[in-house]
Subunit: 264 residues, 3 copies
């Protein structure tokens, strides 16, 4: 039996909104560690990895490891029916073919249960190597979202260059080119408004803006986002979710030649 | 001659928004009693009955009963041109072929008159029998709207079950099933936030969500909605409009066999 | 070399939003006088004339007159990437084939430069004769926008009639007709909420609502709009932009016969 209760029910809704356009179907893995998902996007280019730790739930019980295949659009439809302040409980039998989402209003006057049919999904667990990154940028997530959206109106790819002074996002397209530079800062009134750079050596990598814009749908989950980069390695775009876990996206950089082709 | 003046002009706008998607053309009946409309929806499944009592107007004059055929979309277009705080006056000659909507701004600096062409519409007045209902539920109208919208993302029909403790809305569809239960409550700070149940015997009826969602467009007219139900009779979904009248919708329940067919 | 710096960067964004649907490509003229644009709309019916005076900029340098052809949709895309409070600087070389828009955030932590490719555009400078108008109406720009939008739901053209008491906007169409009268007023708390009429003789002219609705996209640039009219002459719809300039639209009236045809 699996049962997990979350007072801040709006969180699950935001989580699904962050991944449902990227991943169609996915296996959610429940264990004593927590409730997680790891999946390639539908075009098999990027990887999303999400984990809500068991200790972050108000109540959590998982008798044995189970993997539940769900259609994310349908799961999102059901979670959309919860109010942001509802308490959400997920329930599933070990051998069952459904998962139940229960929503309780604060005053207990409205109680809903939504039962979603599970599906069999083939998927291989992908090992994500633990990597030391040569450059890490922590910046306001809304700023990152805005930049990816703005640059996508000019070009298809973005070159992200990190130096010790700041991070520069550059693109070019048919109508012209653009550079947006964010300086390192430590002075903002709210710590989450700062941009922090941790760097062993400068790095400059090119990515498809389309995917970064998809990742940025996780913005409501966290005030900050962390970009971890090393030469020739996939970037990790990570949103830490206060007190309970994180959602991370992995995307391989474009190599020089590909980039040249795109701009022709 | 017909002339009716309403200080809260925004009311007519909301009224038209509530019925214009359900009814294309309708005969508005003016008498000394008031200004009313009774019409079947375009698919001849549901019935809408609206009445604004003459005593609810700031000024009301109706020399003889007249029936004015109007296209509701066009009427809504004209009423949309009124500001919410405008004073609205409707005027028509007994034998005329137009109705005039006059809008005056509070400070009298803006005066508009919109003249709508009337149409001949065949329609029979339908007698609505005065029925005693075995169960009546009065609940916040926004809650009812939300439930109908949420359940429509899962299934096509809703089973409404009333017991003395509460009212349950259930649906099922390809992706799963859902139940939303609202408990009877009398404790809310604002009386209109309570859910009140008046019941002789439990009743459970199934309705097409599509129509309930259309009815719910009347939500801005009233903070509460009343559902009146008896076995095998049409449900009445009524929005009372403060100090002046009401708009009611009638919809026959689906019988068991139909419902089974729908779910196959 | 051309360089112009504007603290209120949001202004340029609003300016482009006001003309980009009317004009596809245009030559911006830079001189010691200021930064201006004059262009026919794509259907060659109306004329837009815009001027930002050099003294309205925080810094302005123009070594020699240059004319820069730009696609307005692309220019708008780039300006959309500025925050409303950003300082915007435009830069161009005398013989260059690009213009650079630089955006600086208030705290200097975000600096962007967007480089737009220039284009060669054939256009003749049109002389706009300096005319004395027999009637001038200054009214709240939002009121004018609302009227043009409302009347367009009823008819295609509007008859604007100015008398010393007020200005009347009339239309008619298949579903009926409408008149909206705004009285002259001098009593509003905020002077820009007043409607002021300056008139030598009454004037009544008919215009295509489609174009007036396009002009009204300049509403965010100014709280008031001025309509200047004389018999058989194009109306001037002018939005004055505080401390720096104006944007004006010219539209010829429909002559009686055309109007009759439209209504048949």
């Amino acid at each position: 039996m699996f049962e997990a209760r979350l007072t801040q029910g709006g969180l699950l809704k935001k989580l699904l909104d962050a991944v449902k356009d990227l991943v169609t179907d996915g296996n959610f893995d429940c264990s004593t560690t927590g409730f997680g998902l790891q999946a390639m996007d539908t075009s098999h280019v990027s990887l999303v990895s999400m984990m809500l730790r068991s200790d972050g739930f108000d109540h959590y019980r998982c008798d044995r490891n189970i993997s539940m295949g769900m259609n994310l659009a349908n799961m999102a439809k059901m979670l959309k029916c919860a109010n942001d302040k509802d308490i959400v409980t997920m329930k599933a039998e070990d051998q069952g073919d459904t998962i139940t989402f229960m929503f309780e209003s604060e005053n207990q006057e409205r109680i809903s249960d939504f039962e979603l049919k599970l599906m069999d999904i083939d998927s291989e667990q992908l090992g994500i190597p633990d990597t030391e990154y040569t450059a890490t940028v922590r910046m306001p997530s809304s700023e990152f979202q805005r930049i990816c959206k703005d640059l996508a109106s000019i070009g298809d790819t973005v070159l992200i260059s990190v130096t010790k002074d700041g991070v520069k996002f550059s693109t070019s397209g048919d109508i012209g080119s653009a550079n947006i530079t964010i300086r390192q800062s430590t002075s903002a009134d709210k710590p989450e408004d700062n941009t922090l750079i941790d760097m062993q050596e400068p790095v400059a990598l090119t990515f498809a803006l389309r995917y970064l814009n998809s990742f940025a749908k996780a913005t409501p989950l966290s005030p900050t986002v962390t970009l971890s980069m090393s030469k020739e390695l996939p970037v990790v775009v990570e949103y830490r979710i206060s007190d309970i876990g994180h959602i991370s996206f992995y995307l391989a950089p474009k190599i020089e030649d590909e980039e040249m082709d795109d701009n022709e």
